[in-house]
Amino acid sequence: MSIVVPDNNKPMKRNGFRFDIKTWGPFIALIALAILGVLINSAFLGADNLSNMLTRSAFIGIIAVGATFVITAGGLDLSVGSMAAFIAGVMIILMNGLVEQFGVGITTVLFGIGASLILGMGAGFINGVVTTKGKIEAFIVTLGTMGIYRSLVTYLADGGTLTLDWNVRDVYRPVYYESLLGIPIPVWVFLLVALVGYVLLNYTRFGRYCFAIGSNEKVAEYSAIHVDRVKTLTYVLQGVCVSLATIIYVPRLGSASAATGVLWELEAIAAVIIGGTVLKGGHGRIWGTVVGAIMLTMIGNILNLTDAISNYLNGTVQGIIIIVAVYLQRASWKKNNV
C-alpha cells in the first residue's frame, strides 16, 4: 500500500473528466443492491419503505461520518455504540426528572438534548486525551470506554429498560417521526451532518491535517501540526456525532437498555470502509461513508422483504456483500495505479 500515491498528487487529465471507479464504486454498488431489492420485491421502491430505510440508516450514518474523521486521522473508536446507549440512558433519566420542574414541554426536551451534546463532547474528549496524552492505542482506550459505558447504562437501568415519560415522549416524538418537505427529520439531520463533514474534511485545514496525520504521524508532527490536538478533535467530533444520533434515536422508541446500540461501532466502521476510507488512515471519503451506511441498512431491509433466504443465513449474505463491495474498490485501486 505504501506505493499508492494520494489522489491529489496525481497529474489531472485535461478537463479532469475521467470515470473514477474509486469515487463512484460505492454508488454503483448501492445501485446494484437497489436493483436487486426491486427484483426481489416491488414493495422495495414504495415511498414508505424508502423513507423507513433512509430514516433507519441515519443513526449509523451520522455516527459513521464522525468515524470517518477518526479513521482518516489514523485512529479508531470502538466505544460509539455503548456511548450512544449511555447518553440515551442519561437523557431519559434527566428528562424524566425534569418533568416536575419544567412540565412536559419543549424546555424539558431541550435540556435533554443539551445534556446529550455535552456528554457526547465530553466522552469524545476523554477518548481523545487518553489516547494522545496517555500514549495508549486507540483500540485499547476505546475498548475500555466501550465496556465502561455499556456497564454504566446497565447500572442506570438496573439491568432493565429505561423508559421516557409518556407525555414527554409525545412532545419529543416528532423529531423522529415527522417530515419536513416530505423528507423525515432524521434524514435531514443525516444530510446536514454529512454536508458539514464533507466541507470540514475536504475544504479546511483541519481536514487536511487529518489526512496528513493518518498518512504519517511523524511527518505531520515535523510539519508543525499539533497532532495531539487534531486527533483529540476528531474524537470530540465523533462524540458530537454520537450525541446527534442519540438525539434522534431516543424519540423513536423512548427507551434505552443494555441492548441499545450493540455492535453499532462495527456497523459504523464497516460503513466507513465500504465507502472507500482506508482503515489504517490517511484517506477519507464522506459521501462514500454515507452510501456505506445506507447500503448496510438496505441489506437488512432487502432480507426482510424476502423469505427466499433462510433467516439463519442473513449474516452470511451481509458478510458476502460487505466483502465484495470493498473488494471491488480495492481491485480498482490496483488497476488505476498500474
Binding site: 419503505n49 439491568g159 429498560t161 437498555s257 441492548a259 426482510n304 423469505d307 439463519y312
Partner: protein, 317 residues
C-alpha cells in the same frame, strides 16, 4: 459425601480466607448462580433473585443465600467453583448461561454432595440435577397460537417475529405452529427480531410495507412487541391488527390491564421463576416432604381479568 481430600481442601481454603468452614447442623448456605443483567429478562431475573433472597433469609434465619452473577459461561463456571470452595454451599440454584459448556461444571458441584437445582435451561446430561424448575417454551408458543386462532376465528393472515435463533425460539415456534394446524390462518412470513426492541421495530416496519393485510402479529417477546407497537403506530394501522408478545414485562402487562386493543393479552414466561426455584430449594431442607424431580411452570394467558396478579411495578422488567 465429600471425600476426605476435598474436605481438607475446603478447610485449607477456608482457613486462608477466614471463612467458617463448617456450618452448624441447622445452618444452610445456598448459592445462586445466574447470568448478569445484560438484557431486560435477565434484569428481571436479578431483581427477583434479590427479592427472594431477602424474603427467605428473613423467614429462615438459619438460611444464608449468596447470589453470583456472570456475564459469560466461563465466568459462570468460575463462580460455581468459588461457591463450592469459598462459600461451602449446601445447595446450588443455577440458571446456566448455555447448557453445553456448563453441564460439566455443574456435575463437579454435584460430586461435592451439593443439592443441585437447575433453572430454565436444562443440562445436556440427565442425572445431575436433583430439581429442575423451568417454564415451558412449547406450551408458551401453543398458548399464543391458540389465542390468535380463537380470536381470528380460524381465518386470517399473520406475521411472526422470532427470537434469537436458539432452541428456546425453535420450541416456541413449534408449539405455535402446532396450535395453528388445521386452521385457515396463513403465516405470511417469519423473521428474527432477536427479542430486541429496535429489531422488532425495523422488522415490523418492513412487514408493514410488504403486506397490505395483516390481522395479527406474534412478537413472542414483550421487548419485541414494544418495537412492533411503535412501527404499527407510525404506519397508522392500529385498527386492523393486534399483537401478542410474551414473558410478562410490566409495561405490556400494564397495557393489558388497561384494556389496550392493540395488545389485548400477554403470555407468561416469567423471570420470577428463579424465585420459585429458590423457594423449592429451601423447602428441600425445611419441608418434611420430598422436594425432587421436575417443576414445570404453566404459561398462562394474561388477560385484562387476571393481569393484576402478574404486575410487578417495582421490577426493572
Amino acid at each position: 459425601m465429600p471425600t476426605l481430600k476435598t474436605t481438607l481442601a475446603a478447610f485449607a481454603t477456608a482457613a486462608v480466607l477466614g471463612v467458617p468452614a463448617t456450618a452448624s447442623a441447622e445452618d444452610y448456605t445456598i448459592g445462586v448462580s445466574i447470568p448478569s443483567a445484560t438484557h431486560g429478562w435477565a434484569g428481571g431475573l436479578n431483581f427477583h433473585a434479590e427479592e427472594a433472597k431477602k424474603r427467605l433469609e428473613k423467614l429462615y434465619p438459619n438460611v444464608s443465600i449468596t447470589i453470583a452473577t456472570a456475564s459469560n459461561p466461563g465466568e459462570q463456571a468460575n463462580d460455581l467453583e468459588d461457591l463450592v470452595s469459598l462459600r461451602h454451599i449446601d445447595a446450588l440454584v443455577v440458571l446456566p448461561f448455555e447448557s453445553g459448556p456448563l453441564t460439566d461444571p455443574v456435575r463437579r458441584v454435584k460430586q461435592e454432595g451439593v443439592f443441585v437445582t437447575v433453572v430454565d435451561r436444562g443440562l445436556t446430561e440427565d442425572g445431575i440435577q436433583d430439581l429442575y424448575v423451568a417454564g415451558n417454551n412449547q406450551e408458551m408458543g401453543r398458548v399464543s397460537g391458540k389465542y390468535i386462532r380463537e380470536r381470528l376465528e380460524d381465518e386470517g393472515k399473520i406475521v411472526v417475529l422470532r427470537g434469537l435463533p436458539t432452541v428456546v425460539d425453535d420450541q416456541r415456534v413449534e408449539g405455535f405452529q402446532s396450535a395453528l394446524e388445521g386452521s385457515n390462518i396463513e403465516i405470511l412470513d417469519m423473521q428474527h427480531a432477536n427479542w430486541n426492541r429496535d429489531d422488532g421495530f425495523e422488522v415490523m416496519q418492513d412487514f408493514l410495507s410488504r403486506f397490505d393485510d395483516i390481522d395479527a402479529v406474534w412478537a413472542q417477546d414483550d421487548d419485541t412487541a414494544l418495537g412492533v407497537i411503535e412501527a404499527v403506530r407510525q404506519a397508522e394501522r392500529e385498527d386492523e391488527l393486534f399483537i401478542v408478545g410474551g414473558a410478562g414485562m410490566k409495561d405490556i402487562i400494564k397495557r393489558v390491564m388497561e384494556g389496550d386493543d392493540l395488545v389485548p393479552v400477554d403470555v407468561l414466561y416469567p423471570p420470577a421463576m428463579i424465585a420459585t426455584a429458590m423457594d423449592l430449594t429451601v423447602q428441600h431442607f425445611m419441608s418434611n416432604g420430598p422436594v425432587l424431580g421436575e417443576y414445570i411452570l404453566a404459561s398462562p394467558l394474561i388477560t385484562q381479568d387476571n393481569a393484576e396478579q402478574y404486575y410487578h411495578p417495582d421490577s426493572p422488567f
